[in-house]
Amino acid sequence: MAELNIRERQAGDVTVIDMEGKITIGEGSVAVRSAVRRLLEEGKKKILLNLAGVSYVDSSGIGELVSSFTTINREGGQLKLLNLTQKIRDLLAITKLLTVFDVYEDESTALNSYK
């Protein structure tokens, strides 16, 4: 089984990426990078990462989320996070990244936040 399973769905002009598994150095981080790169190539710049099924993230995975965030911003898009587990929320607090990311606990609120 892959370390990280990724499924995409479209909600209006926002692409929701449902992730399940681990975002850690190697396969998981690469999967996130590839997915974001492909969406940008397809012109999809409003991206919502649903992390409800992500059980574990290491510093490499956090770094990949930051890279995705900066890459999408540079392209004029928006990356937001949905449904953080408590552990991932703790890691984002430790790294002070909760101040950087737009984080939502409710999908419809998240979707409505895109302009």
């Binding site: 850690t24 150095i25 190697g26 290491d58 490499s60 965030f69 790294t95 002070k96």
Partner: protein
């Protein structure tokens, strides 16, 4: 003491973390501590594999697990050229927040009670991490 010698491959990182979690669990740490120990070991072994040994398959990473009293001490040795933890920029400084790397040591220090680096007399760096019950 349990010793583990792993090749400098990305796959070794999860293998070390699983061993650490198993030993720490047997030693009686709870779920929250186990998460932190697992993550700290992942970060230490990542540093050894990627930065210390530069994924050179001819260089191993040596990991030691020792329990004494209420403490679990985990050592991770690489065969790299050296490392100054004080030279690593603080990833929580505003100017570093959007950098893609540099958060591993922060996690190690956050989740373990003591973390220190030593030069090994026969070469390489040893990081020694202690977690108390």
């Amino acid at each position: 003491m349990t010793e583990q010698v792993l090749p400098s491959r990305i796959e070794s990182i999860a293998e070390a973390a699983a061993t650490a979690a198993e030993i720490a669990g047997r030693f009686g740490f709870g779920e929250e501590a186990l998460f932190g120990i697992d993550l700290a070991v992942r970060e230490a072994v990542t540093n050894a594999v990627v930065h210390g040994n530069r994924q050179d398959a001819t260089r191993n990473v040596e990991i030691g697990y020792t329990t004494s009293g209420t403490a679990l001490v985990i050592t991770v040795r690489d065969r790299g050229g050296g490392f100054d933890p004080a030279a690593v920029p603080d990833p929580t400084d505003a100017q570093n927040l959007l950098k893609a790397s540099g958060r591993g040591i922060l996690f190690m220090r956050n989740f373990m009670d003591d973390v220190r680096w030593e030069n090994h007399p026969e070469g390489g760096i040893v990081v020694r991490m202690t977690k108390n019950k």
